[in-house]
Symmetry: D2
Subunit: 157 residues, 4 copies
């Protein structure tokens, strides 16, 4: 039997958890620090950034692996950073147009992963970057993402 009540109950529990007071007291614009805290920047060169992180407890899903949402956040944040290594892009205001991620393998708590962001192109108005997450030990791909940004001259899109 379909159990809608259970889905509803679980969603409401999550959205009203015992951690609610911690969450409510969080500072403004907390999303990026929440995700990237502890990520080490290993290399920054024109059009390419390599970082590494040990999968932290707070970003785990119920299967004890890196949460799919956190993976996309990494694609978002480090893809953008790679685009801003370009001198033209650096003078623009970027807005995300599209982000997509393929989940290829699980990265478990405590595993070290390497994050490589590679710019495919910074055009006059559109920039495209790929971000690959790999296990540092084996080189196995964990996730592959692509991020397309619109580069506005002024802040008015």
């Amino acid at each position: 039997m379909m159990n809608f009540d259970e889905v509803k109950k679980q969603l409401q529990q999550e959205s009203n958890s015992t951690n609610g007071s911690i969450v409510d007291s969080m500072p403004l614009k907390f999303y990026e620090p929440f995700v990237v805290q502890g990520i080490k920047v290993d290399l920054v060169e024109p059009g390419r950034i390599i970082c590494s992180m040990i999968v932290p407890p707070r970003l785990l899903n119920t299967a004890n692996a890196l949460h799919g949402g956190a993976t996309v956040a990494i694609v978002d944040i480090f893809g953008s950073a790679a685009i801003y290594t370009d001198s033209v892009a650096a003078r623009r205001v970027g807005a995300s147009v599209e982000i997509s991620v393929s989940y290829v393998d699980a990265a478990y708590a405590g595993e070290e992963i390497e994050i490589e962001s590679k710019v495919l192109r910074v055009g006059k108005v559109i920039a495209v970057v790929t971000v690959e997450l790999r296990k540092k030990k084996t080189g196995k791909v964990v996730a592959h993402g692509r991020h397309t940004k619109y580069l506005a001259v002024s802040s008015k899109l």
Copy 2:
């Protein structure tokens, strides 16, 4: 001139912020509560969930709009929830295969948005769902996402 040092400095600042101690002390598996806290479940029916939220300060980006990463997290979490309204899917262990999001318009702090998740299909092994974020006042689309999950019989993928 390309300013790699600045990109590197900014990334390292973010990953080592003054909020670091708050982030480090966060409980296990904190990603979902962090995102969904405060989201109201308005409707749960077979294959469809509607929720609503007022864009909270903690999920803003530097332009004071809902962070693109938070948008994907919503597509991830509420897309999954809609899939689990299906009786077959409910008995399976799901793993994300692909998530993609198109950013259509900005949703600013304090705006109320409606989140509609609609299952396209729950097959024997693959389930696909769309998640649309809209401004409640105008109905204008903020973002459109799609989430594909693999449904495993056992927990071994």
Copy 3:
């Protein structure tokens, strides 16, 4: 054992088929007519187009179902057409930024499918549209696509 030779042989056969002479003699810019020939336009309104087609023999894959590439071509062509129902977009030159498709179910030879293109937004520079292919008889979704275009003022991107 991995059989590279076989993959290579098959690829080369396909790229040098007995139909080669037919293909070589094809007129300029033949891709769109090749795909859309026989598609019926049922409705054109601002921001929305509905078409229908009976899956033709030439667009089948080896499993006798609509070829995945043809599905994307439909998302490309009819998504664009829906965008051009907008008066602003109609005066611009569009270039595809991103196309993505989820394959949800097979549509077999002779089945009638309905194609619905819905514009999510035509902004100043970016337009986004979804295209859904459904079986006409049952309403079951066959594929769901999204197409993002850049709208240039002049023809120079």
Copy 4:
């Protein structure tokens, strides 16, 4: 003024063109030969295929560049081929789950492009591959695609 009539007229013209009789007389399962005819296979190794082609007249769009739909067809066909270089995948029946493409730059008639397909993983049930199209002369990326397939043991999905 919005010109629905014009959009409708153009769509109907395309779907009922003077080339209609050529298209109608095309053989069964003609989509792949139509696209891949003339593509040269340069390298096939486990998990990787490199091909090259000179952009042919029949695959041009109205801007005299490789048609976006043809680009996806290449991602579809050559991505699949790379997956089948894997011995496990070779014994399965694959079905496309998701294809996405970012259009990065135009490839004009007569330009030589290189197509590199790289398998990210062939798992027990899901395989993921990236396909990049580059200009042979400059190495500049033309398009980047990703293709996810479901690998079924039998032909029943």
